[in-house]
Homo-oligomer: 413 residues x 2
Amino acid sequence: MIGIGILGYGTVGSGVYEVLKVNKDIIKRKTGEEIKVKKVLDLRSFPGDNIESILTHNFEDILNDDSINIIAEVMGGIEPAFTYSKLAIEKGKSVVTSNKALVAEKGPELLKLAEKYNVNYLFEASCGGTIPIIRPLNTSLTSDDVQKIEGILNGTTNFILTKMTEEGRDFEDVLKEAQKLGYAEADPTADVEGHDSCRKIAILSSVAFGATVNYKDIHTEGITKITSTDIQYAKKLNCVIKLIAESEKTPLGIAARVVPCLIKSSHPLATVNNAYNAIFVKGNMSGETMYYGSGAGKLPTAAAVVGDIIDIVKMKGLYVPIDWNVNENMPVLSPEKSEIKAFIRIGFENKENAEKAVFDLFGNVDFTSLEGLNNEFAFITGQETEKSVIDKVNKLKNASAVKEIFNVIHVEE
Amino acid sequence: MIGIGILGYGTVGSGVYEVLKVNKDIIKRKTGEEIKVKKVLDLRSFPGDNIESILTHNFEDILNDDSINIIAEVMGGIEPAFTYSKLAIEKGKSVVTSNKALVAEKGPELLKLAEKYNVNYLFEASCGGTIPIIRPLNTSLTSDDVQKIEGILNGTTNFILTKMTEEGRDFEDVLKEAQKLGYAEADPTADVEGHDSCRKIAILSSVAFGATVNYKDIHTEGITKITSTDIQYAKKLNCVIKLIAESEKTPLGIAARVVPCLIKSSHPLATVNNAYNAIFVKGNMSGETMYYGSGAGKLPTAAAVVGDIIDIVKMKGLYVPIDWNVNENMPVLSPEKSEIKAFIRIGFENKENAEKAVFDLFGNVDFTSLEGLNNEFAFITGQETEKSVIDKVNKLKNASAVKEIFNVIHVEE
């Protein structure tokens, strides 16, 4: 029998308990072992719940229980999750987690420790919810030199953008609905400002490229400035707006960013809607592969956590290294150095003069306008460095014919 | 150092050699081992080729070379691939393969043997080309009770259907182009008649559901009867036609088939074009996940073969069981028992009477017709058993107002 300790009985933690219970027989068939939750740590009480008799408020109870072989750390946040994970590994217990904040911040340290103590630290559920992506990168796409990863990595923002697109509603309005439905948290900052996607693309880049990509180096914008008018322009241009996390290996370093993007409606990511996530990987041998599924949610995320547990059980205690050299950092290019196209939306005093000001700076671009909005237009720049776009936008702001720059949004080719 | 023997120096075999050569350093970093091709078996000679000095025409040279730890069987067909694989396993060598015909026919026997000799028999490249799907089913979606698998599993037919759809051309015409471009073989039967997809869905079902699904039990139709007129009707109905392989667990057994299908243009599989493949998996915990990539091609397929080699190297000789109980067969439902919707295209003598005959048999359906085709129409049936549809179509054939049944094609909801 394999004993499990669950740290945190929130959405994911209770999901882990449920998956192990509902699919008990199937899991036993696949592993040849009975996998049993021995203790659950949470500060709260759960009177009447299934786990009442195995609940503890004291981590030591789990740490010192020799019948617990694997810990599922699903509490989120850096502390005490980090300390608990460290102590567990030092006790010779493998740890699996859905905690992207911790993996992005302390992954290298915990992986180094896991290697030292010959246990596994697995984190499939930290990126893309239920989507198998860490393990395919680490065990399937291994013959590849991975060159690029790009995806929709946050369910909350994708749900909000989908609703804004389908129903023509504004950000704040849809955010409130998302909070009511449980798709967004009371404090939605981590999701809507892109911090969550940023940590995920940092983790995916580290596994795909083989050395640490620091999330703090990744330029990150959220979706709070996207308006329903921007989305109407996107529609007119046969595009949708998605929060895209991308990371590419270049000769100078990693070009990585999290930004809202206009993407063509025919792009495979354009049809990834609601709380679904999708991830593209480009390798020098396999070409493009794509992975799609629920990016969040109790059971889908818990299924990925339990998948890691089962993998450890099937490997019978073998330490399997992850291709993430924790002693090496990969430099991330400042966004100014990489080339982009941008959608720029402008309010003007005088149309002809504003057009002239744009032509002078950006050359021969096409203008788009929306019916009923008579004092603004938008255009898409050619390919140039982000720094150049920013400089030109600043100049445009000072042009007398230009009243306001409403928005500057990346355009994905 | 890990020694590799390659059986067959055709498209995939030469790709395996190339992947191991081009990505040598990356593979060494990921595995900590140098992986070297020691011998290549082929009946032909390759004067001037890289492998000339390690080419052999005699399998014994590979079998008896103790420095060869892993065999890549990429020759295709049942024999001598089966005998060679068996002998290799009995010599304690792990075998990896892209040979779907062999895995579908002899997989259970070879897996049983591999377990006995404590080596691995892996076949990621046998389904979906480069797409990681066998390993995700076997190592990621393990906490799930997989309920359904559905996908586009053959690159040749998908290429042909895409061209027919985009260019309005006929099957025979596009097939010739596909043969010229190397997308179809001189004898295209295995692809265009659906046999290849049938073997692949049998293998995927066996891994997903945990026991042998015999490919011979799976109802299989190809795309040779699909005409450009059928595709025009599909377009008018806001659908495309794809060769779909599907397999679903039901209380009575596995409902599996390979058939051309009308699917809605908004269905995620509708935008999978050319030689790309995509596979949907539905689990009771993870929900729907999808996997997409090159379904064929030298380097993409070889990348999957080498991925299996690397997995074996990283597992350091550990035998990792695949969840495919080779001693158990899962019954496949006769297609007559499962419910379908069908698109039926009819040539008539008298429109009004033909419509009446259809109404009498199929109830209140909507008729669709194409401009310029004045003596035919089409309709989509309600949901009913396949047997009932077949019986009604036979009755329709005998109706005096009906001249001809041009086609009956499945409709995927």
